[in-house]
Symmetry: C2
Amino acid sequence: MTDETDTTIAAESPSEHPEHLSPEFVRTVLDLVEAGEIEAAREKVAPLHPADIADLVELTPGEQRRQLAAAIAGLIDGDVLSEMNDWVREELIEALDPHEVADIAAELDTDDAVAIIEDMEEEDQRAVLRALDPDDRAAIEEALSYPEESAGRLMQRELIAVPEHWTVGHVLDFLRGQEELPTDFWEIFVVDPAHKPVGTCALSWILRTPRGVSVGDVMKREQTLIPVEMDQEEVALKFQKYALISAAVTDDSGRLVGVITVDDIVHIISEEAGEDALLMSGAGDGDINEPIRDSYKARVRWLVANLFTALVASSIIALFGAAIEKMVALAVLMPIVASVGGNAGTQTMAIVVRALATNQLTQSNTVRTIRREILVALLNGATIAVLLGIGAALVFGNPALGGVIAAAMVVNILVAGLAGVLVPVTLERMKQDPAVASSVFVTMVTDSMGFLAFLGLAVAFGLTG
Amino acid sequence: MTDETDTTIAAESPSEHPEHLSPEFVRTVLDLVEAGEIEAAREKVAPLHPADIADLVELTPGEQRRQLAAAIAGLIDGDVLSEMNDWVREELIEALDPHEVADIAAELDTDDAVAIIEDMEEEDQRAVLRALDPDDRAAIEEALSYPEESAGRLMQRELIAVPEHWTVGHVLDFLRGQEELPTDFWEIFVVDPAHKPVGTCALSWILRTPRGVSVGDVMKREQTLIPVEMDQEEVALKFQKYALISAAVTDDSGRLVGVITVDDIVHIISEEAGEDALLMSGAGDGDINEPIRDSYKARVRWLVANLFTALVASSIIALFGAAIEKMVALAVLMPIVASVGGNAGTQTMAIVVRALATNQLTQSNTVRTIRREILVALLNGATIAVLLGIGAALVFGNPALGGVIAAAMVVNILVAGLAGVLVPVTLERMKQDPAVASSVFVTMVTDSMGFLAFLGLAVAFGLTG
């Protein structure tokens, strides 16, 4: 993170800083590699920021990726790897020798090293660990002993902790005297004799305070401590809520064991917030770099689930086969009721899933939220019902049909609003991720109810004679 | 952000730190307010972190919210307001006198003050600005002159900038001597005589470097500069990509005019990543605190749009009215083809919208992504086709019907995969937000194609005699 490449595209022309590498640039580099002009390719790539080199590798098609990686091997260091898409990195790492991986891991902070090693096959993982020097190995092994996606995996063990009785001068001398300090740090931690954190000190306060003052007097006692087993999603929410730059991680006995910094959290905030859209759609947690086999497996499950819920809706239609035979307009109109209802349900569900994910929706306001969504549903339902009812009455020259479809629409949008709140809230109470399964249930409800309300009312009101 | 409340729930019991305020706690406070025991209520609320006080206000139902706000008025300061949900804050601010708002704004950093003032009615805004002292007013007026959601609105003007020839000792003395410094800062900026940034220095490097060294020798020249008009979404992507803690903001002529820090960005990262799920569902950018009128307006637009796309699908069914009358099984099965196809389209669309939002999908890999999605679609289509084809053949005792629905399923899932990539990519090329409108188009395509392929093939293969 602190490598001091002399220039970047960013520094040279801030206002024209490309949002991403231009297709021309990517093509130029790949053409050079293809033509065997390795030196020229390296010269093009060398001035890039590690994150841009990572992007370049991602943008290169699979077949050419290894060629490129071989050509610019020396430039793909730990910083590049830790910025790289998980799938692409995994593929690259698999092609490397355990010793090469160990060399890369050794130069990284614990958290970045763990991110690279944790996805490897167990056998390769052991080979890499063996190749590391004992200190690094112990740190990484300990991190790996914590559950996946927990604070223990995210934290780095390199941190500055000082006793409360030290003065600011003490701290300054200590920092200047130390050779081996974390690459970057933003706060120092104050600990008691049992190594339990009692406060934090932003570096800016240290800088502004006279040497004689004790750190106990400048530190902030209020602090958010992160238990080492806390899930990364919760860690991310804490960083957002309390606007943290870094936070102390403590073990079961309350001792300070590591630090998590915000630059490692921004990725997680973005991932966790973005993945709900993917999960709700039934696309798993994949992206465009996921291997096709994994994408197939993740998605087909939900399509099969959707197939079964569609069968439920379908069997409701089957009950009304005779009515449809008599009045084919019913078959023409019924998907509208289901479709608009499904959309209304998805709207509410998306709002509720997001509110649950950000801890905005709790037991204190569930009832209020249900009431709110029913009100919105009534307004929406009435609007759509009027439009569709009048339209259907005119087109089919049948006011009764218009009335029936209008009534069915109101019923289905109301049901959609209710299901849109109740399904995700219930899943959350059952300790399930509401983003994962809500969609299937909500769609089943709105499809089935759409057909049932419309066809049922049509029969009840004698439309089909 | 630096207020030094002595304790928080977090500091006292890290491992039991509640994820959100317990319903019991909320009820207790509201009961105290209701009973007029204002002092007791204040005592309960006072030890909370500003972000938790903001949550408490959000969790309180609308009717009781003003009562609560009045009771704990002194505790609702700028820090609490800047942590509060936009809708709830707007409602509270509207109830305040301009002078009260000005008092609150004066104690905040520019960016937080702007966030509070920018949503006010113009007249109230002017009243607040008049009540501010001239320096604060000028800073806020300038920020308001930048476009909404731009870097200019996000930045704070309080920052440390030093000339390149200064030594570390110089910087230290300067920092100790200044009374009026930003509340918190993590990096200092090095500028040339024209006040253009030439490098940044993390405080940790200043702390570790001997006094005699010049800042030009410790600073990092590589830096990401943010033009003042840059959209906040892009700013957030830069912070993520380059793992920034703070970044210099420059005006058109390249002069340093402000700084954006990561704690102001985490909210935006989360909002921007999370809002795509809401936008795709057609729920606008609202949340459970949005006023019902606004929710209705945002959502009904998309339901009406959906109504029209459903009519397209519906008119395709109408073309096949005669076929349905002869074979009602077609009406029973057709929603399955549309529904599973729609789901497959949504899966691809969600992946593609996310990849576009994170700059993972560019011109360099569009064709590759289309090829990839077609492959996944073929696999998914084949799987579903086999299941559904055999099932339909058995249930209806009609192998030809099974063959037709299987073929229709493959066609529709393929079309869904194509539409799932092409629709959002095309919208992006046309400078539209792909999250906003993709869903309507993709659903229209998969619904229409589902009915057309199934009913069309049924007729073509003479199923209906």
